[in-house]
C-alpha cells in the first residue's frame, strides 16, 4: 500500500488532464461519441466524484464480493432451493435474467465509451471501473442462471433473449440502445448513470433484493445486492457531469436529457418491476407495492436530487403519477393474455387474497381491472381456457414498443380518451401509447423513424406466416419455451382462505 495518505496522491495521479496540441479537440473527442454540448474542455476538468478508489483497491474489493457471492451460489446450486421457489417468483427471476443480463454487458460498452470519451481524466478513471463492473454484472447474471439450467432450461434466455426479436426484448433494446449502447459520453452519464442507475435500478435491485430474501431466494438476493454495490459507485458519474453542465449554463440540455430518459425508464420498469412486485412475488413476501416503491425511491428521494441541481420535475410529471395507478396492471393483463410470447410462465396473481391486496394498495382495482379477470376466470371455470389465449396481436407503441393500453386507462377513469396518439410522418403512421412517448419520438425523429415495431414487421411481411405461430417462431420461442399459466389456473378456482 502507498506510504503517503490518499489525499496527498490520489487527485494528482488521477487527474491527468492536458491541453491538446497535436490534434484538435473534436478529433480527440468526436461530438458523436463525446458531445461536450459546448462546455469548454477546462470546465470539464473540475469534474470530481466522492469514491476516489484506486485500481488495487477496486480489484481487492471486487474479489471479496465475488468470493462471498460464489460461496452462496456454490451452496445454493447444490440445494433444492430453486425447485421449491414459488412459481410466481420463478417468473420474476426468469423475466429479470432475460431482460437484464446481456443488457448489463451492453452497458459496459456505454461505460467504455465514457472511459475513452469522457471529458475529464477523473471521469475516465471512474468509467473504467464502471466498464469492469458492467462486465461483471453481465457475467454473473448469465453464470448464475447457467448453474440452474438443469432445473429450468429457459434460464438460457439470460443469454438468448437479447439475440432474439421477442417483443419485450425489442422494447428493452430500443431503450437501452438509446440510453447507452449508441449514446455519446455526456448524455450517457446523464441518462444511464444519473437517470437510470441513480433512480430506477434501486427499484429492481434494492426492492427485488428485499423481496428475494423474504421469498428465500438467497442466490438471487445475494446476486443483485452485490451488483447494487457496484451500481451505487459508478452511478456517481452522473452527478458531477450534471454539475458541470449546470454550472456552464446548460441546465436546459441536462433537463431535456433527463426528461426523455426518465420517461423511457419508467415505461420499461413498469413492465418489468411492476409485474414482479405486484403480481409475481408471493403475497406473503411482498414488502411494498410497486406504487409504494415508486413513491419512496423515485418521487421522494430521486426528485430531491433533481432539485439539488436546480432541475425541475419533468413536464409530464402529472401523467407519470397518473400512470402509476394503472399502467402496470394493464401490462400484466397483456403479458398474461399473450403469455405464449414470453419466455417465463406468468402467474395471474389474482386469487381472492391477491385481489384483496390489490384493492387495498390500488383502491378501485376490483372494479377497474378485476372485471377482466372475472371474464377470464369464468372461461377457465367453464372449461374454455383457450379463450384466455390470443388469436391476434396487440398494437405496440412506436416509442416504448410496449402494447398500447390507453383503453385501460380510460376505462379505469385515469385518461380522458381511450384513443392512442398518432402521428403521420413522411407518409407513415406512427402510434404512441402516451403523450410523453410521442414527445420522446418527436424530439429526435430521425433517430427513431426508421425503426419497425413488431407490428410494423408483421404488416410489412417480415414475419411469415403472419400468424401467432409464425410470430412465436420469429420471436425465437419454440413451443417448449412459450409461457403458460404458472399456476395451472389455480387463481381461477381458488377460494379465499379462512384467515384472509
Amino acid at each position: 500500500m502507498p506510504a503517503l495518505p490518499r489525499s496527498e496522491w490520489y487527485d494528482l495521479t488521477r487527474d491527468m488532464n492536458w491541453d491538446l496540441t497535436y490534434v484538435t479537440e473534436d478529433e480527440a473527442f468526436p461530438p458523436a461519441l463525446s458531445n461536450s454540448f459546448g462546455v469548454p474542455a477546462e470546465d470539464w476538468w473540475t469534474w470530481d466524484e466522492p469514491y476516489k478508489i484506486a485500481y488495487t483497491e477496486y480489484v481487492h474489493n471486487q474479489a471479496g464480493k465475488d468470493q462471498g457471492l460464489f460461496s452462496v451460489n456454490n451452496v445454493v446450486s447444490r440445494s433444492s432451493i430453486f425447485e421449491n421457489l414459488d412459481p410466481g417468483w420463478k417468473a420474476a427471476i426468469l423475466a429479470h435474467y432475460g431482460a437484464i443480463a446481456v443488457a448489463e454487458y451492453q452497458a459496459s460498452i456505454g461505460e467504455a465509451r465514457m472511459a475513452r470519451f469522457g471529458r475529464a481524466a477523473a471521469w475516465r478513471n471512474m468509467a473504467t471501473y464502471g466498464t469492469l463492473d458492467e462486465m461483471r454484472h453481465g457475467q454473473l447474471q448469465t453464470y448464475f442462471p447457467y448453474q440452474a439450467l438443469n432445473k429450468e432450461p429457459r434460464l438460457d434466455w439470460a443469454h438468448k433473449a437479447y439475440h432474439t426479436n421477442e417483443w419485450g426484448i425489442i422494447a428493452a433494446r430500443h431503450v437501452f440502445d438509446d440510453m447507452f449502447t449508441a449514446n455519446d459520453a455526456v448524455s450517457t452519464a446523464i441518462q444511464l448513470t444519473f437517470t437510470f442507475e441513480t433512480g430506477f435500478t434501486n427499484l429492481q435491485f434494492l426492492g427485488m433484493a428485499a423481496d428475494a430474501m423474504k421469498v428465500g431466494d438467497l442466490d438471487f438476493g445475494a446476486l443483485i445486492s452485490s451488483i447494487q454495490t457496484d451500481e451505487a459507485r459508478h452511478a456517481q458519474q452522473g452527478e458531477p457531469t450534471l454539475k458541470v453542465l449546470v454550472k456552464a449554463g446548460k441546465t436546459e440540455i441536462a433537463q431535456n436529457l433527463l426528461d426523455k430518459m426518465f420517461w423511457r425508464a419508467w415505461k420499461l420498469f413498469s413492465l418489468l418491476t411492476g409485474l414482479s412486485m405486484d403480481y409475481y412475488t408471493p403475497i406473503e413476501h411482498r414488502t411494498h407495492s410497486f406504487k409504494e416503491f415508486m413513491e419512496e425511491f423515485i418521487n421522494k428521494q430521486f426528485i430531491d436530487q433533481f432539485r439539488d441541481f436546480g432541475l425541475e420535475k419533468p413536464w409530464y410529471w402529472d401523467q407519470l403519477l397518473n400512470e402509476m395507478n394503472w399502467v402496470h396492471h394493464a401490462y400484466h393483463l397483456g403479458v398474461y393474455f399473450w403469455r405464449p410470447t414470453v419466455w417465463w410462465n406468468p402467474v395471474a396473481g389474482t386469487g381472492p387474497e391477491e385481489r384483496a391486496w390489490l384493492e387495498e394498495k390500488y383502491p378501485g382495482w376490483n372494479d377497474s381491472f378485476g372485471k377482466y379477470w372475472d371474464v377470464m376466470g369464468d372461461n377457465v371455470r367453464a372449461g374454455r381456457p383457450e379463450l384466455t389465449l390470443p388469436e391476434t396481436f396487440p398494437i405496440v407503441c412506436n416509442s416504448c414498443q410496449i402494447p398500447v393500453c390507453t383503453p385501460a386507462g380510460y376505462a379505469a377513469g385515469y385518461l380522458d380518451s381511450p384513443l392512442p396518439y398518432q402521428l403521420v410522418r413522411d407518409g407513415r403512421t406512427y402510434t404512441f401509447c402516451s403523450e410523453p412517448c410521442q414527445w420522446v419520438f418527436e424530439e429526435t425523429p430521425e433517430q427513431f423513424a426508421g425503426h419497425l415495431s413488431i407490428i410494423d414487421r408483421l404488416l410489412g411481411g417480415l414475419i411469415q406466416p403472419p400468424t401467432i405461430e409464425g410470430a412465436l417462431a420469429y420471436m425465437g420461442l419454440s413451443p417448449e419455451e412459450c409461457g403458460v399459466d404458472g399456476n395451472d389456473y389455480a387463481w381461477a378456482t381458488a377460494t379465499a382462505s379462512k384467515t384472509a
Binding site: G334, F337, Y372, N379, L387, T392, I395, A411, P418
Partner: protein, 81 residues
C-alpha cells in the same frame, strides 16, 4: 375487396389490438371482427348491437372502410348501442 388492417378495441377493454377486416365489410361486420378478440374473452358480452366509432363519431351500419376513405391502421372503437 381488400384485406385491411385496423387498430381496434371494444369500449371497456384494456388494449388496442390489430384486427384484419375487409374494406367492403359493412360496419356491423367490422365491429364483429374486432369484438371477436375481446368480447367473451376480457369484456363481458351484452345483448345489444355493436357499433363502430371512428374519430369519435358512430358510423352508419351501411358504411364501409372503403366508403369512409379510411387508411390502414386507422383506430376504430367498438361500442354497444
Amino acid at each position: 375487396m381488400a384485406m385491411f388492417p385496423v387498430q381496434g378495441f371494444v369500449d371497456g377493454d384494456f388494449v388496442v389490438v390489430l384486427a384484419l377486416v375487409d374494406d367492403t365489410d359493412p360496419m356491423p361486420v367490422v365491429a364483429e371482427k374486432i369484438a371477436y378478440h375481446s368480447v367473451g374473452k376480457r369484456v363481458a358480452a351484452q345483448d345489444r348491437p355493436l357499433k363502430v366509432k371512428r374519430g369519435g363519431v358512430v358510423q352508419p351500419d351501411d358504411a364501409t372502410l372503403a366508403s369512409l376513405g379510411a387508411a390502414p391502421l386507422d383506430v376504430l372503437e367498438v361500442v354497444y348501442a
